[in-house]
């Protein structure tokens, strides 16, 4: 399994972004592939690398990560997220082929809506332990629990923080007017 096989002696074999999107579309449907951004740089505006935006439902999230891992060990950047009303949408920002040749990295964002009726996500910790800080941050800031995350202690908020307040939420669990002090 790719997640277990990391070695300095096995360089990643990059594939074009189109091959990744074709495989994703085949397994998860055409609708799962969103924006494909070709990144240009330099004096001649030459195209270099690609950023992909994918989406998946929560139940098939781990399956999509495992499929991406067939291409390369996904380097995890961060989880971003927003309270979109009925759901909190999480965006997992990853990179494939970050150890490959010039201009061969493929940025991949996987967006997952987590409905407020069940604010639990499967943790990526057993696959990529580097997700720890980000999952803990999303847990305290947006109120999403991660199933499989061993350390669920607060990370950026103070020890005496009232944990019923989720700083990044925009509903009744978010900070109220009395909780915000404007300095200027």
């Amino acid at each position: 399994m790719t997640f277990l096989n990391i070695s300095q002696d096995i360089p990643p074999v990059p594939v074009p972004a189109g091959e990744i999107t074709a495989r994703i579309a085949e397994v998860f449907g055409e609708g799962s592939v969103g924006r494909i951004a070709d990144r240009k740089a330099g004096r001649d505006d030459r195209g270099w690398f690609t950023d992909l935006w994918l989406s998946v439902e929560k139940e098939r999230f781990l399956e999509m990560i495992d499929l991406l891992a067939e291409f390369d060990f996904p380097h995890f950047h961060v989880i971003s997220g927003n309270d979109d009303g009925e759901a909190v949408t999480l965006h997992y920002h990853l990179s494939l082929f970050r150890l490959a040749g010039r201009g061969e990295r493929v940025g991949v964002t996987v967006s997952v809506p987590v409905y407020k009726t069940d604010l639990v996500m499967p943790s990526l910790f057993s696959r990529i332990p580097g997700v720890e800080y980000s999952e803990r941050e999303i847990r305290e800031m947006l109120g999403i629990d991660f199933d499989g995350l061993p350390n669920k202690a607060l990370i950026f908020l103070p020890e005496d923080w009232d944990e019923t307040i989720k700083p990044w939420r925009r509903d009744e669990t978010g900070p109220g007017a009395d909780d915000v002090r404007h300095l200027s």
Binding site: D44, H77, A100, G107, G130
Partner: protein, 407 residues
């Protein structure tokens, strides 16, 4: 079996420049486990951005860090340019690249100096600080500032390279090619420095990959990652940059503090070469996509979408994600992933089986964001010390800046 102790390093500790706590489990002097607790200086900057438009957030972003301030605004404005589809003129791309590399120079030199200070090698620390002044002067000549330069903006840059700035860059390159290697030789040739740093705070290749280490921390473990190579942005599209890894120089990557030192030193030489390429290839032309800020804001207000940018900051990959909603002049949401956020996950691994006395050095070895500068005490020519008032200091700063900018 020896009795176990739990000892906190931090949040405020003489060996640390910023507040963070590492709870260390000790058997005698040996560290057998560690838990890191950040959060002492969380300022809610991402939340504050919700009330600000993209131009205002540039200045918020610049204040995330006192050292890689430009890296953060570059990641932020590139994410905004991605969300709103805004092009950047080639000359501006080159100036951005120049400032990114100048920032890498001063960040790496500051780190090397602080690392020497942490192991008690104070003469090398002072040597490092003296060297760093030259690049600070170039940044001041370009922008008028030493810390937050205010150079980057959405769609370009705010300051151009004048003949006076070009000359100061040239002087700086000559100065470093002459003066940097003695510093490097003094430290790497010192048997005590080697003893304090070799095999201390080891992070293996596999651990660095799994724990998402970035920048010099990952490269010192032999991980060949560098966004300037695998995803060229700005002027890096016009010349190649190779990841600096110890095995290419010494046949093997130990992944220890000494390798983190070596990687940063070689990256200083690499940055000097990149600055040469930038100055030689600097295109003529505009430095801004649109000069009128109101027009830029009217344009970003119409934009709808999420933009992402990852750039190779001095400490590693810095990722910003921004969402703009059509009709809303403010940033809807913004996520910042500074390199230390990624590298800090590896701290508990680096602590294993090391001595308690090495804990501050291990913490500092990933170059956690540190911003600290004291300029209040001066010594005049006669050797008498005097304290400068705030007004006098401001006048002196302005006078020096005018001189550096050739005015």
């Amino acid at each position: 079996m020896e009795k176990k102790y739990k000892i906190p390093i931090g949040p405020v500790h003489v060996g640390l420049k910023e507040p963070i706590t590492a709870w260390l489990d000790l058997e005698g002097e040996k560290i057998v486990g560690a838990t890191v607790r950040p959060g002492a200086i969380h300022r809610g900057i991402e939340y504050m951005a919700r009330d600000r438009n993209p131009i205002q957030v540039i200045y918020l972003s610049e204040r995330i860090c006192g050292i890689c301030s430009f890296s953060h605004i570059m990641a932020f404005v590139r994410a905004v340019e991605d969300a709103a589809t805004i092009p950047v003129p080639p000359r501006a791309q080159y100036i951005r690249t120049l400032v990114l590399e100048l920032e890498r120079l001063h960040s790496h030199m500051l780190w090397a100096g602080v690392a020497c200070y942490t192991i008690g090698f104070d003469s090398a620390f002072h040597l490092g600080m003296v060297l760093r002044e030259k690049v600070m002067d170039v940044l001041e000549a370009l922008s008028g500032n030493r810390v937050n330069y205010g150079v980057g903006t959405v769609g370009g840059v705010r300051w151009d390279i004048t003949p006076a700035v070009a000359k100061s860059v040239k002087d700086m390159l000559r100065y470093y090619r002459r003066e940097f290697s003695p510093f490097y030789d003094v430290v790497t040739g010192d048997p005590i420095a080697l003893a304090r740093m070799r095999n201390v705070g080891v992070l293996t290749y596999e651990e660095a990959v799994r724990h998402t280490a970035v920048g010099p921390t990952a490269r010192a473990s032999g991980v060949r990652c560098d966004l300037r190579k695998t995803s060229p942005y700005e002027a890096y599209g016009d010349f190649s940059v190779e990841a600096i890894v110890p095995q290419d120089f010494y046949g093997k990557a130990y992944g220890d503090v000494f390798d983190r030192f070596l990687v940063r030193v070689h990256e200083v030489y690499q940055s000097l070469e990149i600055i040469d390429h930038v100055m030689e290839g600097l295109p003529e032309g505009e430095i801004l996509w649109e000069k009128n800020l109101n027009k830029v804001l009217a344009y970003t207000k119409k934009a709808e979408g999420t933009g992402i940018a990852s750039i190779e900051a001095p400490r590693g990959d810095d990722t910003h994600v921004v969402h703009l909603a059509a009709g809303d002049e403010n940033v809807t949401w913004w996520k910042v992933r500074a390199p230390t956020y990624a590298n800090a996950v590896s701290w508990p691994l680096m602590f294993r089986n090391n001595e308690l006395a090495d804990a501050p050095l291990i913490i500092n070895s990933i170059d956690p964001c540190i911003s600290c500068m004291e300029r209040m005490l001066i010594t005049d020519a006669s050797g008498e010390k005097s304290v400068v008032t705030r007004t006098e200091l401001l006048d002196k700063c302005r006078e020096k800046t005018r001189r550096l900018m050739g005015k």
